[in-house]
Amino acid sequence: MHSELEQVEIKENIMQAHDHHQDDAAAPSHVAAETMIELTGVNKWYGDFHVLKDINLTVRKGERIVVCGPSGSGKSTMIRCINRLEEHQEGIINVNGVALTNDLKNIEHIRKDVGMVFQHFNLFPHLTVLENCTLAPIWVRKMPKKEAEEIAMKYLERVKIPDQANKYPGQLSGGQQQRVAIARSLCMNPQVMLFDEPTSALDPEMIKEVLDVMIELAHEGMTMICVTHEMGFARTVADRVIFMDGGQIIEENAPEPFFNNPQSDRTKLFLSQILSH
């Protein structure tokens, strides 16, 4: 893994976070690290329906957060507010020091630094895998095409599908498409990666190949917020697990105590239901 790491340009501070993580148990001990995302008193309504209620969340650089909860609990909505796919109506969201407002410049600036992986991959079907990966670097980062392609190939190698570079997404399996989607986000060299149920639309045998890529990414020190029901993943890589229900954060804890000793009744019920089989 380290030889692969050397090929990959990763910002120095992320590397440090990575090293830090090695001697780090499950508990988030790097308190001193700088704040990457901060949600303060965030509220959101769809019409009269109150989807997000007083959300307060701070994510530090290099931290890995897993968000779980029943469907309709607002977990996807919450992470979609972080890159303004959804607009929040009250509260403050700060991403990498920039506050999200209606200012389009701010929004586009934040989106450059925040990668997102969707449940349904959302690859662009009219472009090849390579073109999917180079589109944003070329048009948003103004990178020369050749350089963008080199970087894209590097990330495609990292998600282990460089041989599919010239195929169209429609020719790939779900797991391969999701790995392309991850590579596509990484090509923008993001500061944070948001995962919105990345394995929920996959066949069981493809879930592992995607989780492996995500675990590797986590070990490299990427700041991640991941909405998922993969509790094994949460145990392995999360610094904190957040349980949401009814638009609120019900419980927030390190994975060990979260799974072994949940405090709230709703958390207990939820865990008993998803871990029972």
């Binding site: 796919l85 989106r111 450059k112 969707f118 079907p125 009219h126 048009w139």
Partner: protein, 366 residues
Amino acid sequence: MIVNDKTIPSRPAPAANRGVIGWLRENLFATPGNSVLTLIGIAFLLWAIPPILQWAVLEADLFGSDKNACTSEGACWVFVSARFQQFIYGFYPDAELWRVNIFFAEMTAVLVWVLWDKMPKRMWGGIWFLTGFPATSFMLLYGGAFGLEVVDTHKWGGLMLTLVISLVGMVIALPVGILLALGRRSQMPAISSFCTVFIEVWRGLPLITILFMASVMLPLFVPGDIELDKLIRAMIGISLFEAALIAEVIRGGLQAMPKGQYEAADAMGLSYWKGMRLVIMPQVLKISIPGIVNTFVQLFKDTSLVLIIGLFDLLAVMQAGIADVNWPNIAIEAFVFTGFVFWLFCFGMSRYSLSLERKLDTGHKN
């Protein structure tokens, strides 16, 4: 317990399912009902085709210069050859016909350049098609520069006029239609209501009304010293009418796009216009090809309506020919030929669109 570790080799399908016999069996004689329909169909073709063939080809007169050359029972195609110049050029002066020919040649060349994917530098072809080609065509056809004599638009006619109106209509309607469709879905109330009203008004009016208004009413509202050519007025009317139709076709395509495509484009930081240009529109145009081509085919045929405001397109020239006392009883030949020419162009467009759909198919069905 069953354990099967032998792989069964693939065998060819039974002979009855393969080859000509298999095809016939599957497609023509699958059931007794199908067999009866097949036989009825064959009987109808045997009954209908020979007389048509006899009239149109076997007993037709092809050579000569006037009605007297038509002596046999069949079609009198002499009419077509005698009137050929008018069908193609309208009343364009004899001495200047070479200009129209150059226009035809340039049109063919630039269309092949733009539409055929094996041509080099098609980007430049597209740019020339939208800039240089209209400019040189106007120069050639209208004249007034480089020592070219001015040929007034009322002398334009025939196939040339049909093509000019159609091309201008298509080239204007597509981009305007795309903007209207985007505008109609805009979050900004002023833009979306303007586009909605524009589309609904133009789409709701019959093209004939629009042409009448362009030729009769518009001059009443425009101050006297500004005189807009009748052809230009008709072109503007047709283009905007078509743009409204295209806008709705494009809007249908936009509705069909999965929300995730917009979100993925947004999430990677593409601005609205970049997202539209690079992600959404290429896909929307692809799924809208049948609708767009349908509208274009309709536009091509609808250009014949300009005859009611006194422009002599292909059909109008034909009708004038039918009224000629020297050519009695020629209506059938005239209409069959005109219909055939229109059909040829429309069929060409339709075939091209099919091949384009196949070429752009990347195996992804949402």
